[in-house]
């Protein structure tokens, strides 16, 4: 299996002079050239000359001993995170020419840490999807099997990591959009505690659910990136008033320090190959001395519909701003105001986004609000309280997804089948707790991911467990393609 240097190893190599940032940047540019035509992970790519100039500056800083935590590390950013130096389209025709006049806080923090932004990654339009097929710029393909999807909505951020087209990436996770792609591409993704990472500059989909989070080829890399982007931001009123987390120098978790529990409702519906890899990993953890307990979370049986109602309702409200005025479209003639708005939205949005806006409007409309939206927020309380009760006692483990990566087109024809892919991941978003997805193994040559959830702000525990699991599986730094 091909293995690539992790970001942490790169920084070490730059520091001790065994690798030149410029040489590495060229290598990544070559990988992008080799894969991108088939994978379509990027919507916008930085010019190679601009990447090299920044890599040369990084080389100078290492020479002078003035390097910062991510100096010379190549980072890809999901295209719903605002950048003033590159277009930010959210994979939508509605924003195809939009260049934000400001950077998201996470981007500012990346740049301040010395990272080089290589490009903006492909995704489901406005992050609405689980396969990265609903993009106005074409679907993303999974580098492990080009006939299959990489998961979504942060599929581009995962796919470019999986083929070596970047060292680290940023995704956003509203109901599993970091963890599903991580699971399907043998990469690592963390959905942070709600409020740990600033959402300032994130094009919103479901405000009360979503977080920007790190994606990487190793747990330590994801921890390093989360350390850089995390912490209070006065520009985001939902951000928690805490210092950036200290995560990058933690030790692996030892047996006896924490136990794991597996809610049967979060495994039972899994395909046989997924369940087999998952239980195999649990068995390994047990044989190493970890306590793995069976648990029950009956409340999660209604988590999926509750999640979708809340997400769609928030989406309908958030996307009301796209009226053809603030973000104008040249192909819609001026005239009657309401007709202009309806036409601009019809042409700018893709089918899935339009459908979700209509459903969200429906769930919030007079006569249906109590039956849908209010009921969903009540279920959310039940789910959150149940998850917090269990997470106080143990780390909650489950497969990250119930099925192996589907083939392109296999799931998008049936919306309910598509939504079911998020059944294990939405729980963490409803509860606001952190969740880590990482490789558990392979089945039929395809990656299978495991998910761990902890109590709020328990990212340190997740990282430590992740380091332990990584040692067991040996899947640190794996990449698709021939070695």
């Amino acid at each position: 299996m091909r293995k690539l240097k992790t970001a942490y190893e790169l920084v070490e190599a730059y520091r001790n002079g065994s690798l030149d940032p410029v040489e590495h940047a060229w290598r990544v540019i070559e990988e992008i050239g080799r894969w991108e035509g088939r994978v379509n992970a990027y919507i916008t790519l930085e010019a190679p000359e601009a990447i090299i100039i920044q890599a040369e500056e990084a080389r100078e800083r290492y020479r002078r001993g003035e390097h910062r935590p991510l100096e010379g590390v190549l980072v890809a950013v999901k295209d719903n995170i605002s950048t003033s130096f590159m277009p930010t389209t959210a994979a939508s025709r509605m924003l195809e020419k939009y260049i934000p006049p400001f950077n998201a806080t996470v981007v500012e923090r990346l740049v301040r840490a010395g990272a080089i932004v290589v490009g903006k990654t492909n995704m489901d339009e406005f992050a609405m999807g689980s396969t990265s097929e609903f993009s106005a710029f074409g679907p993303v393909r999974n580098p492990w099997d080009l006939e299959r999807v990489p998961g979504g909505s942060s599929g581009g951020s995962a796919a470019c990591l999986a083929y070596g087209g970047c060292d680290l990436s940023l995704g956003s996770d509203t109901g599993g959009s970091i963890r599903l792609p991580a699971a399907y591409t043998a990469t690592v993704g963390i959905k942070p505690t709600y409020g740990l990472v600033s959402r300032y500059g994130l094009i919103p989909y479901g405000n009360s659910l979503e977080q920007i989070g790190p994606m990487a080829r190793s747990v330590k890399d994801a921890a390093l990136l989360l350390e850089v982007i995390g912490g209070w931001d006065p520009r985001d009123s939902t951000s928690l008033r805490i210092d950036p987390p200290k995560l990058s120098n933690l030790e692996p978790l030892e047996p006896g320090e924490a136990s794991l529990c597996v809610p049967r409702e979060m495994v039972e519906g899994s395909e046989e190959p997924v369940a087999k890899v998952f239980w195999n990993l649990m068995g390994k953890l047990e044989s190493e001395g970890f306590e793995v307990l069976e648990a029950s979370l009956p409340e999660v049986s209604k988590a999926l519909p509750a999640y979708y109602i809340i997400a769609l309702a928030e989406a309908a409200s958030n996307l009301a701003r796209y009226d053809g005025g603030l973000y104008p479209r040249e192909d819609v003639e001026a005239g009657d105001y309401w007709r202009h708005v309806a036409e601009a939205r019809a042409r700018g949005f893709g089918w899935e986004v339009k459908k979700r806006i209509v459903l969200g409007s429906y769930a919030l409309s007079e006569g249906y609000r109590d039956e849908y939206y209010i009921a969903a927020t009540k279920v959310r309380r039940l789910v959150r309280d149940a998850v917090l009760r269990l997470a106080r006692k143990c780390i909650i483990a489950s497969p990250a997804a119930p099925i192996l990566p589907p083939r392109l087109g296999e799931r998008i024809t049936d919306p309910l089948l598509l939504y079911a892919m998020d059944v294990y991941t939405v729980v963490a978003n409803l509860a606001g707790v952190p969740a880590l997805a990482m490789p558990a193994g392979f089945s039929q040559g395809l990656p299978v991911g495991v998910q761990f959830m902890a109590y709020r702000l328990g990212e340190d525990l997740l990282v430590r467990l992740g380091l332990t699991v990584e040692e067991m599986t040996g899947l640190r730094g794996v990449a698709a393609g021939e070695g």
């Binding site: 009360s208 006065p234 009123s237 309806a342 019809a346 459908k355 806006i357 429906y362 849908y372």
Partner: protein, 97 residues
């Protein structure tokens, strides 16, 4: 969705999106099926005395007490002819001829 397509058409009006009649037909089918599935949440809380939860950390959510003053300079995204030189923006259709 009890009243099927009529409710979808009402939601389409609220959503301010134009659909062709073929699209509307497809939307009715898909949306009705999804709405029927989503309505199952009601069963889970029927007869239970539960308060809605709008923010996961309800005890810590709230408005910020300090607003950061970080302005984007107008000249960074507007052409010079749209600026009046005193920090204000010229609105073309309001210009006095």
């Amino acid at each position: 969705m009890e009243d099927g397509c009529r409710a979808v058409r009402r939601a389409v009006e609220l959503a301010r999106i134009a659909f062709t009649s073929e699209e509307l037909e497809r939307l009715c089918k898909e949306a009705s099926r999804i709405a029927e599935y989503l309505a199952s949440v009601g069963e889970a809380v029927k007869g239970l005395d539960v308060e809605p939860l709008y923010h996961v950390w309800e005890e810590e959510g709230g408005l910020r007490d300090r607003i950061e003053d970080r302005r984007v300079p107008l000249e960074s995204f507007l052409p010079p002819e749209r600026l009046d030189g005193e920090g204000r923006v010229k609105v073309p259709w309001r210009e006095v001829k």
